[in-house]
Every structure is written in C-alpha cells, then in structure tokens.
C-alpha cells in the first residue's frame, strides 16, 4: 500500500455546537420574558422578577443536585419528601437548642440539616448502587419513607419554628446583599460550585462517564458504585441547603411541604438540557430551567385570561412549547 503524504485536514469539532445546545434553555427563558411582558407589563418589574427568581432558588438548588444524579444515570424522586423531612428535623433541633444557645442554634441547626442531607442521600445512593434497585423504584420507596417520617414527627400537623428564632433567621430568605436577595446569591454560589465540580474535577468527569456508558466507565477503572453514590450524597446536600433557605420563608414544616417538588426538579433539569438517560449535565441550564418553571407559574397568576381550573393545563402547554423552542434552537 502506497504511503500517503497528504495530511488529513483537521475535521471540525463540536465546540460551537456544544455552546449552542447550552443556549437552548436561555432562549426559552428569553421567549418567556417577552411573552410575559406582552401579557402584563408588571411582569418585568424589578420587584416581580426579583420575587420570582428568589422563589425559584429552592427548586434551582435541589435541581443542581439532581443534575449530578441524572447525569450519572440515576434519578431521585425523593427530593421533595426529603426537603420536608430535613426541614422538620432542622426546625426541631433549632427549637430544642434555642433556649440554651439562642441565635447560635441557627448555624447549629444548619449543620445538622447538612448532616441529615448527607445521610439521606447516602441511603438513596446505597439502595440504588449496592442494592442494585432501579432508581425510580428505590427513590419512590424512600420518598414514601421520608414523607412518613415528617408526618410522624409532626403528628400529621405542623412543626413551626420558635418565634424567637424566626426574626433572627428571617434575613436568610428576605435579606439582600448589594440589593440581591440571599437565596439568589446562594443558588448562584451552589450552581457555581456545582459547575466547577462537574466540569473541572475528576469526579465530574467520572459522573458523566458513568452516566454515558457504565461499562466503559467500569473498564476505565471508575467505580460506578462510588460515583453514583456520591452523586446522591451531593443531591442530599443540595436538598439540605434548599431546606435551610426554605425555613425562614414559611417558618414551618408540614407533611405537605415539598409535595411534588421532585417533578419540578426533574423538569427543571430536563428543560435545562440534561438528558434523563444520563451523560453530560448542564448546571446553568438547570438553573435556567428552574427559573422558567417559576416564571410560568408567575405568569399564570399575573394573567387574567385563564380560568382557574385550567391553570395546570396551560402550564403544561407552555412547558411543552418551551421544550420545542429549546429543541428548535439546536
């Protein structure tokens, strides 16, 4: 066979494409803002937008965690119940510590929240990886368990936070720094750290590899069990952070706290561009997805066109349209 002298021309890579795929959710977000302005000019008022984005922080923070789980090929349906459970435990601890430690009981409670989050995530992770149970079923099971625990802890009622703590704690949700509400700052920080972990560390690489092809990952010496379990633990920590921001907003944990958040969280992740079957995760897309969901709900309240009975339906339609915009942008 004759030697061939001509060097092959460099074939174009995917760089540009990748950025484009990432843009999808932001385009959908832009479209939504435009629609919102047409529907009701108040929509773009600073107060309203700040409210909406602040609110979306919970879902955004949890969804950032879910980006790890989903990217690594898992799924977590228990996040809503877990949020309720962690909120309950945290409030109970804070209340118990309050007489002795006063204001200090708040950071102590927060630490406990994170610890509980780690444990809950670990439980989920181990059932899925070591127990080898399909994530959907495993976390549906723990969803029931966490929900039952918060119901039990609250005797089916409410666990309110101590009045004394309430005012000290309030700024965590309602305060601002340089005009930006804390929850927004916290969620940006969480997303920044997450995108660092996912894109800049070995662990992030492993996560995507396990999700993209578990066999290849295993053959490359990556422990699938460890990687997935850690993803669930990260999810647990994110839920704990969300719970910490949540307490001052509503001041109580109830058996209905966080109900159906799991669906919102997964929706945010998918709208954000991460595929449910695993692989590369898109942290910033996820954040955009969470804001999109909250904006849609806000739009429903601000617009007067839709019968109260049909709100859920119109939301459904808008979500599908947002996905179509996302897809067309590719």
């Amino acid at each position: 066979m004759s030697a061939i002298t001509e060097t092959p021309t460099l074939r174009p890579g995917r760089e540009l494409n990748l950025n484009w795929a990432d843009l999808g959710p932001f385009l959908a977000l832009g479209a939504l803002l435009a629609i919102g302005f047409v529907v009701n000019p108040d929509f773009l008022s600073a107060t309203n937008l700040s409210n909406v984005i602040t609110r979306s922080a919970f879902i955004a923070i949890i969804a950032v965690g879910a980006t790890f789980v989903i990217s690594s090929g898992g799924l977590d349906l228990s996040v809503g119940s877990m949020a309720a459970f962690i909120t309950g435990v945290t409030i109970m601890f804070m209340n118990r510590l309050a007489p002795d430690f006063a204001g200090l009981s708040i950071p102590m409670g927060m630490a406990i929240a994170v610890a509980v989050g780690v444990l809950c995530g670990l439980a989920n992770g181990l059932i899925v990886t070591v127990g080898k149970i399909e994530p959907f079923i495993a976390t549906l099971g723990t969803m029931g368990i966490f929900r039952a625990l918060i119901t039990y802890m609250s005797d089916g009622g409410t666990i309110p936070i101590d009045r004394a703590l309430r005012d000290i704690y309030r700024p965590v949700y309602f305060g601002t720094f340089a005009g930006i509400p804390y929850p927004i700052l916290i969620s940006l920080l969480v997303a920044a750290i997450a995108s660092f972990i996912l894109y800049k560390t070995k662990y992030g690489r492993k996560c995507a590899a396990v999700g993209a092809n578990a066999d290849v990952a295993r053959y490359s010496g990556i422990s699938v069990v460890k990687t997935r379990t850690i993803a669930y633990v990260i999810q647990g920590v994110c839920v704990a952070i969300a719970a910490i921001c949540y307490v001052p907003r509503l001041g109580a944990a109830t058996p209905t706290t966080g109900l159906l958040w799991e669906l919102q969280v997964i929706t945010a992740v998918v709208i954000g561009g991460t595929a449910l079957r695993g692989g590369k995760g898109h942290v910033w897309g996820t954040v955009a997805g969470a804001v999109i969901l909250e904006l849609i709900a806000n739009l429903m309240v601000l617009s007067d066109y839709v019968s109260e009975y049909l709100v859920a339906g119109v939301q459904g339609v808008i979500i599908i349209i947002a996905m179509l915009i996302q897809r067309l942008s590719k």
Binding site: D155, G156, T158, L250, G251, T254, T256, A297, L302
Partner: protein, 292 residues
C-alpha cells in the same frame, strides 16, 4: 380609582375546595358587576408554597386594598400575609387562622373541632355510648387534625372504641379501598366516620357491596350536596350531616367588600356554626347548582 380585593384560595383539587372556588368566583362576579368601584381578583394555588408565591405576585404588581385569604396552612402563610398587611391592605382570613392573629382585620371561620365533636356526640347519643367505630381521615393537615381531635375527645369520654384511624387523602377511591379493608379486618363495626363527604361516598359504596348489615351509621362532614340529599331523603345510615360550608368564602368576600362600598366597619370575628343538619333543616343547606 378602583379598590382591589385579592382573593387567594386553594386550587380546586377536591370537592370542598372546589366549592370554595365556586363560591369565590360567584362572589367576585356578583361584586364586580354590582359595585364598579371594586375589583375582586380570585387566584387559586395548589400548595402552601404556591400560595405564598401567589400573594407575593399579587402584591408585587399593584397595591392591594384588601386580601381575602383561605390559607393552605397557618404557619407557612403567616409571614407573607403580614407583609401584605404591612403594605397597608385590609386582611380577611377565612377558615384557618394564621399563627399571629393580630394580622387579621376580619376572621371568618367554620369550626373544625365542632365538625368532629358534633358528629361524635351524635354517635355517642344514638349508640348509647357503646360500640366499635372506624374512622377515615384526609391528608395530614391542620383541618384534618382538628376534626379528628374534636371527634376523639368526645369519644374518649364514652365507652365507645375507635378500632382504627387511617388516611384516605380525602379521596373517594382511596376511601372505598380503605373501607373494604376495614370490613375485612373487623368482623363487627357499628359506625363509620369519614371526616369529609368525598370519602363518605367511597365508604358507602364499599359497605353496600359487602352486604354487611351491622353498620348502623356511616357519617361524613362538610355538607356535600349528595350527602345533604340523603339526609333530606331520610337515609337510615346517614341521617345527619355536619356543615362546613365552602360558602364561607363568599361571606368573607362580601363582608370585605362592605368595608369599601358601604363604609360598614367589619373588623372582628365571624364564627359560623357547625350545627347538626337533620332531615328537619337539611333543605337550608342544599345547593343543587354548586359543584359541591
């Protein structure tokens, strides 16, 4: 300049809340038509979190002159409602009180404890203080808690025995299943109480199918039209009903509007009774056009 009255209520996800939505919308339509100076906006929310958001949204866009709220839960809504109040709105709280009563200008409520207690008294009375009961409760929330507590407190003072209490999520389907299971588990049941009429429908069906004859009473609560109809017709198993009328929201909206259109001072507390509905007075509580 119109006076804006925002009404924030739970979404119509089961019979009673559907009744609330129906009556709220009816009130809004009537008042908007009757008083050009007042605008009533009704918003529904599927959860406490969503309701907090809705209140923020309503007050972010415009200045509210009044807020009529039927809170999903007391604790969670207290802070946001206080924010609206602090912005100068008149606050009417319906049904469930907030944790801080000083926020409300007007409080319109039914009596959830009475719903349980009245029913329990009736049973104690009719069964001579003896017998086995099974109870179906709804979704773990304050209302559910209060009704069960009212019921249990009265029963505890008699020799009657509550064999079982389980959740059926205010859903007739789940109540049907739960009742079937109760029937399989307990060979002798004297009476059943479902703390909501939606569930009672499922209970009645299960009892009917089982062919069990020893069950003397199957009672509900809330005043659903189908059940009130049974009372009117003199049903032996469901001879009474305790009202917890969703129309209380309408009462509240009208009272709030009166503040603006009639300059009638309406601050205070309006507690609606939970009287026993019997065949004698049932027609007063029968609204065939309401969805509930």
């Amino acid at each position: 300049d119109k006076k804006v009255i925002a009404v924030s209520i739970p979404a119509a996800d089961h019979g009673w809340t559907a009744g609330v939505v129906y009556h709220a919308q009816a009130a809004a339509k009537e008042i908007n038509a009757a008083f050009p100076g007042v605008e009533v906006i009704v918003k529904t929310s599927p959860s406490a979190t969503a309701q907090v958001s809705a209140i923020e949204d309503l007050s972010a866009g415009r200045k509210l002159d009044a807020l009529v709220i039927l809170p999903h839960s007391s604790e969670e809504l207290t802070t946001p409602v206080k924010a609206v109040k602090d912005a100068g709105a008149f606050v009417t709280v319906v049904d469930r009180g907030l944790s801080d009563p000083s926020i409300q200008d007007l409080y319109v409520a039914g009596d959830n404890i009475a719903v349980g207690a009245t029913t329990a008294k009736f049973l104690v009375d009719k069964l001579g203080g003896k017998g086995n009961l099974v109870v179906l409760r709804g979704i773990p929330t304050v209302i559910d808690d209060e009704r069960i507590k009212g019921f249990q407190d009265v029963i505890a003072k008699s020799d009657m025995k509550i064999l079982d209490i389980q959740y059926a999520n205010w859903n007739s389907d789940e109540a049907f299943k739960l009742m079937q299971d109760y029937l399989a588990k307990y060979p002798h049941i004297d009476a059943v109480w479902a703390n909501d009429d939606d569930m009672l429908l499922g209970v009645l069906e299960a009892v009917k199918v089982s062919g069990r004859k020893e069950i003397k009473f199957a009672l509900g609560g809330n005043g659903m039209k189908e059940i009130v109809k049974k009372v009117i017709d003199g049903d032996a198993v469901t001879p009474i009903e305790t009202p917890y009328p969703p129309s209380m929201i309408k009462t509240a909206i009208y009272l709030t509007a009166a503040q603006f259109v009639g300059q009638a001072p309406v601050r205070g507390t309006v507690k609606l009774d939970a009287p026993l509905i019997t065949q004698a007075n049932a027609r007063e509580y029968y609204f065939p056009d309401s969805p509930f």
